[in-house]
């Protein structure tokens, strides 16, 4: 139930309000954005694509927050490793 892939909205299709062209790593596909009719994605925004439909918008702020958390963990880990390397008991 799971294969969803992030893609960037490039443009809407003229005369077809439900359809948009997306870009996934250089590959372009027309998908249906009807499930996001409450808050349609604009060109430049990212969506989660599943079986030819956009299921959800990717919230860039949340993504940034998630990455920040991971960076933080990484930094704390590096710091700890450094501290471990520097500390001596004798």
């Amino acid at each position: 139930m799971c294969l969803g892939i992030p893609g960037e909205v490039i443009e809407f299709l003229p005369d077809q309000p439900d359809l948009a062209r997306v870009n996934v790593s250089g590959v372009r596909r027309v998908i249906n954005i009807g499930l996001l009719s409450d808050d349609p994605p604009q060109p430049g925004e990212w969506v989660l694509i599943h079986v030819g439909f956009a299921l959800s918008k990717i919230d860039e702020n949340e993504a940034a927050a998630a990455l920040e958390f991971l960076e933080g963990i990484g930094q704390a880990y590096d710091d700890e490793l450094a501290a471990l390397a520097e500390s001596r008991i004798e």
């Binding site: 893609g7 996934v24 790593s25 250089g26």
Partner: protein
Amino acid sequence: MTADQQSAGWVQEALRIHEQAQAEESATHERRGSPQPAAGTVREDLVLERIDRARRSRPRVKEERITMSHGAGGKATQTLIEAIFLNEFRNPLLEPLEDAARLRIGGARIALTTDSYVVSPLFFPGGDIGDLAVNGTVNDLATSGAVPRFLSAGFILEEGFPVEALNRIVASMRAAAGAAGVQVVTGDTKVVERGKADGCYINTAGVGVIEHDLDLGVAKARPGDAVIVSGPIGDHGVTIMLARGELDIEADVTSDTAPLGGLVAGLLAATPGVRALRDATRGGVATILNEIAKAANVGVLVSENDIPVRDEVRGAAELLGIDPMYVACEGRLVAVVDGAAAGDALAALRAQPLGEQAAVIGQITADPPGIVQLKTAFGGTRIVDLLVGDPLPRIC
């Protein structure tokens, strides 16, 4: 709720065979006086052992009818070849089951290969069935270490096929043959009724001359050898999938169909340490790695970070849920070379345009024998097994 209940016949059959095997196994245990397996870790080892035995057991085709899996280049194809063709035709020249047979006629060493081309669509970005027919045959000869010389070309044409299309295909073949340095010296033509042959099928045979003393073969791989690929993988298969037009995906991918004779010659001239060469066609690089592991009874360990894949191929594969490792190429070779010779081999490949992005993707290990492992970009490890059939797009 329905009143009827049935069981699946094939399940009962499989269980019966399994119970029989278990009974035999217990009897063996008793005869040898060995203890029955206890629960826990020992049980898992036993199960894994049993799987390994089953994998290595005599191949049998269980299906009643041919399915598309049998043509995908994976496990089903291998089983079909071994259980039916090898079984009937068995002889020492056929048994290596390499891409070409190596024959001695008079004093000369000759390589002989045959191929059939049934691709649909016939024309796609980067080439057409004619290009594939020439390059594919040439490549089977080249990877056997032979200099490709002569081709035959048999055409099976569908009633109603446009002559203009045939002209284009044959023109492609002429150009490809010229580029590869081979001549088409004999052929055949058949026409079948409308509805058969998908427009045009081409069958080829190729003959080449082996001019060196090397005994190349996947069975020659040894622990410590390096595994090299001559360029980005998966281009051809993804191009064909997209070109079929059913998936509504546009991307700038083109088939990588190309003759590998030049690359092979450069490689063999640069170092005597080449153990095996294969061109990665249907079934992809993963299939070749498994063939090496099985034939030489060695382990193959490759690193995801080191395998070249174009961004668009990766994007399309992610979108479809398929793995580029299993996707066909038509102009890439996989080479197994002595670890010490890897540097020279890589330099030789990169010196030519076709091999610009050649890379060492992994190495041969002693353990675990017969198994291909992938070190993921993420740092974990997983097994790269033979596919049962075609890589099917998944949604889940």
